[in-house]
């Protein structure tokens, strides 16, 4: 009997405390809710009387609360030790618009999601919020988002409107419901995701080979890269194609390789990609027979030593190491590789000459899988906020200060950290503007670029690097860094140059699904992903190729069939076609 008593007491204490703490949290959550000051109400009233000015100044200070997931400042000249609150852009915003930004908290971006869910649970949301698609849907469902339709119509600057219209309003439409604009999406050109093949021209030259157009040619090249000492250092220390343990990822993976077989398994988001079938239904790319053929080829390449024997062990950092060290001469990937990490490869070995080519396919260049939309951040406004238009004005502000007259003044060394400013939307056609403007200036032999709008800075940076690279000038940055800027963005045969051609020539296939992960994906997706990785890796490393059929059966049985139904349901009701 003696032993039982402490237990009872502990139980009682726990329960009482649980109740207490729970009540406490509830009370506090409510007390914290009305954060916007009273003055705002009168303020917005006076403001409405005058015709809306996208860049106008509030008569009385409007305080906007925000939270920030930040990355380190990009520019090395940024003052050491600066904090987001000290960002000089905030000072300018106050001066220009009389808007004061207050951060509830700031956190390194890798931890943002974690911290944000704590804020949600404690009922402590800021006024203007940067969210991902998932959180957007959650907030929408809980009816916590302000309707921005009017604020956008009245206050959005022409520049902002131009950005939003650049894709025909597709992204804006995606983030509206019942005629209400609930979020302003920051989106990018979906073709930034186009898969290319990066290959070392200097190795091809050393071995007297041509850039491959078909899988068979690629195989010959890769074999030669593996066995014939392409770097001519007298050692057998190279292999053909870079790869890592995640087959479908954001880089150094084999998405492009599968595309070469007309297989479209995934865009690298841990789930299947969806392609349009003959009967206007969406098919999961992951389980199509072309995937099996591609796996068979990878299996053979693994046996031949064309890919790393221990690829299954190595993450993207390892793949990057091998690329930099000159151990591997081919990698599938997107337009940005020269920018990073190939620039290090060039700096390490000045002879390294990387070129981009269209994906080799079974009989000639193949089509790449491309997403319908690339938008991983959306700006929304808390329904409780009194001045939703302040968010739109801040967007205007950010675009405005991108103009040349501000940009030349707003130096990183003076504490201007652009990537800490939110809400911030970049030109969705940013990269294409850089490409056309830089080439225009190059073709006309100009020494300065002519553009002076919000794209000024990025264009000028690339133009400078390009000039330096072409002149062999390394006073500002190393050869690799200059080349990386030039070859990723400006070169006609480079990363974006080639991507443009692929886009123009319709050499792509859309991933038709761009909705949220469906209910079954949320519940079973992790299991399915594990199943896929396990099965595919084992096949590549020498398992039976017919295990693919077993994989397809298990995938369907473990939830795949439901997912097919859910995705097609989405396609017929919600997709913007």
């Amino acid at each position: 009997m003696n032993k039982i008593r402490p237990w009872k007491m502990i139980l009682a204490v726990t329960m009482i405390l649980s109740l207490l703490s729970a009540c406490g949290s509830q009370g506090n959550g409510n007390a914290n809710a009305p954060t916007t000051p009273k003055e705002d109400a009168t303020n917005s009233a006076t403001d409405n009387a005058t015709p809306p000015d996208p860049l106008g100044k509030y008569a009385e200070t409007v305080t906007v609360t925000e939270v920030l997931g930040y990355n380190p400042p990009e520019d090395p000249r940024t003052p050491s030790g600066i904090t987001p609150e000290q960002n000089a852009y905030l000072k300018d915003l106050k001066e220009m618009m009389n808007i004061e930004v207050k951060y509830k908290w700031t956190v390194p971006s890798a931890q943002f999601e974690q911290k944000f869910s704590l804020a949600m649970a404690s009922g402590d949301l800021p006024d203007v919020i940067e969210v991902d698609q998932k959180t957007y849907e959650k907030l929408k469902k809980q009816d916590m988002l302000a309707d921005l339709t009017e604020a956008y119509d009245q206050y959005a600057s022409p520049a902002l409107k131009a950005y939003m219209d650049s894709d025909g309003g597709f992204a804006m439409k995606t983030f509206s419901a019942d005629g209400k604009q609930l979020g302003i999406p920051a989106f990018e050109d979906p073709f930034l995701s186009t898969q290319l093949l990066w290959i070392r021209q200097d190795w091809l030259n050393n071995l007297g080979l041509q850039a491959p157009k078909t899988i068979d040619e690629l195989e010959k090249v890769a074999q030669a890269f593996t066995n014939n000492d392409p770097d001519q250092n007298g050692k057998n220390d190279t292999y053909g194609i870079a790869m890592q343990k995640s087959l479908f990822f954001w880089g150094f993976d084999v998405r492009g390789f599968f595309n070469g077989f007309g297989a479209f398994p995934s865009v690298g988001d841990n789930q299947s990609a969806w392609i349009k079938g003959s009967d206007d239904k969406l098919l999961p790319g992951l389980i199509q027979p072309e995937v099996k053929t591609a796996l068979g080829k990878l299996q053979q390449w693994y046996k031949d030593g064309i890919i790393d024997k221990e690829f299954a062990l190595k993450d993207e950092n390892k793949a990057v190491e091998d690329l930099t060290a000159g151990k591997v001469g081919i990698s599938y990937g997107e337009w940005w590789y020269p920018n990073w990490p190939l620039n290090s490869s060039v700096d390490k070995d000045p002879k390294a000459d990387w070129i981009a080519i269209q994906l080799p396919g079974i009989d000639g260049p193949a089509k790449s899988l491309v997403p319908k939309i690339r938008s991983n951040k959306i700006f929304v406004v808390n329904k409780k906020m009194k001045n939703p238009e302040a968010a739109i004005k801040m967007l205007n502000f950010y675009i405005e200060v991108g103009n040349k007259k501000y940009k030349d003044k707003n130096q990183a060394a003076d504490g201007y950290v652009y990537n800490w400013f939110n809400p911030r939307i970049a030109n969705p056609a940013d990269i294409d503007t850089i490409y056309t403007e830089v080439n225009k200036a190059l073709d006309a032999n100009q020494t300065e670029i002519t553009i002076d709008d919000a794209n000024y800075k990025t264009v000028a940076d690339t133009f400078k690097a390009t000039k330096d690279f072409l002149a062999g000038d390394t006073t500002n940055a190393s050869k690799g860094v200059n080349w990386g800027q030039y070859y990723s963005r400006a070169a006609k045969d480079g990363g974006w140059g080639l991507t443009r051609q692929i886009k123009e020539n319709q050499q792509f296939v859309y991933n038709e699904f761009y909705g949220l992960p469906t209910a079954t994906v949320v519940e079973k997706g992790g299991q399915l992903d594990k199943l896929m990785q396990e099965s595919f890796t084992k096949i590549i490393m020498g398992g039976s190729i017919d295990d693919f059929d077993k994989f397809v059966d298990s995938w369907k049985a473990l939830g795949g069939n439901q997912i097919i139904d859910e995705v097609n349901e989405w396609y017929s009701t919600e997709a913007t076609k």
Partner: protein
Amino acid sequence: MKSLKKEYPLHIMLIPGVIVTLIYAYGPMAGLVMAFQQFEPLSGFFKSDFVGLDNFRYVFNLPDFKQVLWNTLVIAIIKMVLSLLVPLILALLLNEITKKWFAGFIQSAIFLPFFLSWTVLGGVIIELFSLNGPINGLISSIGLEPIMFMLDNGWFRGIIIGSDVWKGMGYNMIIMLAAITGINATLYEAAEVDGAGKWKQMLNITLPGIAPIIILLSVLGLGGILNAGFEQILIMYNPTVYAGADIIDTFVYRLGMFSQQFGPAAAVGLFKSVISLFMVSTTYYAAYKFNNYRIF
């Protein structure tokens, strides 16, 4: 009444500890309700739907769960045993080193890996055991076939366990060393006079002297029977060894891949807590029954 008066300073001493514990340890336990909810942060604990035991059913019925539970038990139990034995042996060996500076140096060095995170160490270990790594260099230099250690279920488990024991062994070793220094020095002097050798002294004085601490560490170690080392495995494993190295924690982590699933995660957490409480309290009472020693 008399005893109460005598004891009251003891109660006073406990007040600060009890207050802190009630607020910061018992307070959050209210969150255990998440295990029975379809918890959604925006709704909080009050508005989230109660789903009874659904979360438990969902997790326990997932096809891999049995395998994952088994992997966890195997890895955790071996780790548990070795991370007692190895530090014990090290402490005893170190106790025989007579040069103080040398003993001190070794102690520090053994404790060193404890300071590094798995994010840093994981990469080093993968490199160590890779095909081009030094271990395989050694193997091929004596004419054997190189081994892909990290891609083989058996080896991989061994490496996971070995490296974890290596990383953490300094911790328990220091506890044991502290216990050894607490042993009455006159006992050794008496044994010396009796002509007992070092080995006998170790068996008859040192080991019994630190027995309470060893029992304590074992009992508390059992509390970790379902903790096989999340961070380490997450960083070091790969698809070829999922079959043998996917553990409860990595499994739960994967459940949240597309959207954080608070309910199921809390259900697994609660399940683990109950199991470890059961393990520890049974061994606690066993140690008391058979040895008449209360570890706490």
